[in-house]
């Protein structure tokens, strides 16, 4: 970054579309006064790939695999939300065993996602040894996913009216082994993130989202729960097998007795949710009934029914980042949906970025932006526009600024 003459006026700092902290493209424009962020704006659409339009030319079975590819991390969330929308439109009853298997797979995905996020957050503040430790843990979760579904990322396990693969008795030892590994390491993870001085310094009081803002801006998932809003589709609404399981909303006051809505609180919520997910998987294995896996195994028959279906359905699912919703409408003329609307969790967590970032420093951008665990894809350049002159600042540069801030605080 080239040096800038000191002026009293604010200047604008665009970040993205290829983004420093995020894995996917999005563009921010900040109004900066010295090091402080005065205002923030977000530009979206760099990865708008007309997936809904493509989907309206396919049948629901084909869409499942398209939905799975919307996001590499939520590759269970989108198919479940879509399948639920279709099931609601067609009044399909999902067999109870399939509901339990959906929960097991979904919670495993949540563990993967939250642990991955914890590593990214550590990396953003320059704590790379923690990144490798957490991702080592995530590897175990991915190994289990591969063992259960045959794939690590796109699992292809959900189908309309059920699931495609069972969780059998002889798979249980491996599941328990992995869960025990997580339990043994959870304390280590908790200690690293919640007691460490460096983490506290960088995350406490940073990127605050007040409860009022979270409610007004319709924030979802751990982002809203960290601000003290009790909102979790899994608890709010009975779906899949969650109604049978014993668990509750996780807000930061469970651990600390208070809610600040800062980055630290978001770390607490995600960490506790990892523990909750382990518990939910165990409950599922204990309570899982025997029975069918799918309500209609013959796909041509299912598609013929869809062809005659007239109606609309709405499916909600609590993805690792929050509520994910799909809407479908069938007109009874074709097996392609007339309308398919996808709304991923980050869509609702865009607006809350603005109050979170206002008043923070440039070096906090990567951490604060990453703290909502946004799901969009990654890029490498930041440009600083200063009265018509353009300077470029690459990801490494911005990352270096963030790391330097940590060092400065520690000195």
């Amino acid at each position: 970054m080239k040096s800038k003459e000191a002026t009293k006026t604010t200047y604008r700092l665009p970040i993205g579309p290829i983004h420093p902290a995020l894995k996917e493209p999005v563009m921010f424009e900040f109004e900066i006064d010295g090091e402080r962020i005065v205002d923030a704006d977000v530009y979206l659409g760099q990865v708008h790939r007309a997936i809904e339009w493509t989907g309206m030319r396919r049948n629901p079975i084909q869409i499942l695999y398209l939905a799975e590819r919307i996001c590499g991390i939520c590759s269970i969330s989108h198919p479940i939300a879509f399948a639920r929308a279709v099931e609601n439109a067609m009044d399909i009853e999902v067999p109870a065993r399939a509901d339990y298997i959906r929960v097991i797979q979904g919670e495993l995905e949540r563990i993967c996602s939250h642990v991955l996020w914890a590593g990214v957050a550590a990396h953003e503040i320059g704590f790379d040894s923690v990144l490798f430790l957490t991702w080592q843990m995530r590897e175990k979760a991915l190994d289990l996913t591969e063992y259960l579904t045959g794939n690590r990322i796109t699992k292809a396990i959900i189908t309309i009216g059920g699931v495609r693969r069972d969780v059998t008795k002889d798979q249980l030892p491996k599941i328990y082994e992995t869960l025990n590994y997580f339990k043994d390491n959870f304390e280590k993870l908790r200690h690293m993130f919640l007691d460490d001085k460096t983490f506290k310094m960088r995350s406490q009081g940073v990127g605050v989202l007040t409860k009022k803002d979270a409610l007004e801006l319709c924030a979802v998932g751990p982002t809203t729960r960290a601000s003290g809003v009790k909102k979790d589709v899994r608890v709010d609404q009975a779906y899949c097998a969650y109604g049978d399981l014993d668990f509750d909303y996780i807000t930061p006051d469970v651990l600390t007795g208070e809610v600040n809505g800062d980055v630290y609180d978001r770390i607490i919520v995600r960490l506790l949710e990892v523990k909750q997910s382990i518990d939910l998987i165990e409950q599922c294995i204990d309570k899982m009934p025997s029975g069918e896996l799918v309500s209609e195994p013959k796909i041509p028959k299912l598609l013929a029914t869809i062809k005659k279906t007239k109606g609309e359905g709405f499916g909600r699912y609590e993805a690792p980042r929050g509520e994910c919703v799909h809407y479908v409408k069938f007109t009874g003329e074709s097996d392609h949906p007339y309308t398919w609307k996808v709304r991923a969790s980050t869509y609702n967590n865009i607006l809350p970025w603005i109050p979170m970032l206002k008043g923070e420093q440039i070096a906090d951008i990567p951490l604060v932006a990453a703290s909502t665990d946004p799901c969009m894809s990654c890029t490498n350049r930041v440009a600083i526009v200063d009265s018509g002159k353009r300077y470029e600042m690459n990801k490494e540069e911005l990352h270096r600024l963030s790391v330097e801030k940590t060092r400065r605080l520690m000195a």
Binding site: D236, A238, D244
Partner: protein, 179 residues
């Protein structure tokens, strides 16, 4: 979290009908069960007239101070454009949430609807998306810029429309090129 009296789906529909009379054109409650315990969840689908739309959203805040707006979805129905506002109320209580899907039809001759950003500021993103995707005009929207479409995307083309303003012309059917 709402501390007051919590209404059942039937009572919600009834209270809306009492309040807005003929403004409510139709309402259905879909109940489904799930899991071993067969716990129920309810979806309310309501068709309403455009004239009562804003008042109805205001009325929703009486059920819960901050109704959650999941998203607004839209259908091109030929002569009209249907917008469906997917709300939910009573979250924060285990198994207490009720989905409210409110559908408003706008004739293609007059595609305007009022903004609800003053009641639910979080609606901004989805309202901006509806403007560019369906060609609906949101009256008094605080920020009317495009959201997902790039600035060089042609004017007057709306990706979700199924009529002549749809995106068909922009699609390249690669399988046909080689013929």
């Amino acid at each position: 979290m709402a501390k007051g009296k919590r209404l059942t789906p039937e009572e919600i529909v009834k209270s809306f009908k009492d309040e807005f009379k003929t403004g409510i054109k139709g309402a259905t409650i879909k109940r489904r069960t799930t899991g071993v315990k067969k716990i129920e969840f309810a979806d309310i689908w309501m068709k309403i007239d455009k004239s009562i739309f804003k008042d109805l959203v205001k009325y929703l805040t009486k059920l819960q101070k901050y109704p959650h707006l999941a998203v607004v979805s839209g259908n091109d129905l030929g002569k009209t454009i249907e917008l469906i506002y997917h709300f939910s109320v009573y979250y924060g209580v285990p198994q207490g949430e009720i989905s409210l899907n409110i559908s408003v039809e706008l004739p293609k001759s007059n595609l305007t609807i009022e903004t609800i950003c003053d009641i639910i500021p979080g609606a901004l993103i989805t309202e901006r998306e509806k403007q560019e995707m369906l060609g609906v005009k949101i009256k008094d929207i605080p920020d009317g810029r495009r959201l997902f479409l790039s600035d060089d995307f042609p004017e007057g083309v709306y990706p979700w429309r199924k009529d002549e303003t749809g995106p068909q012309k922009l699609a390249r059917n690669l399988h046909e090129v080689k013929k």
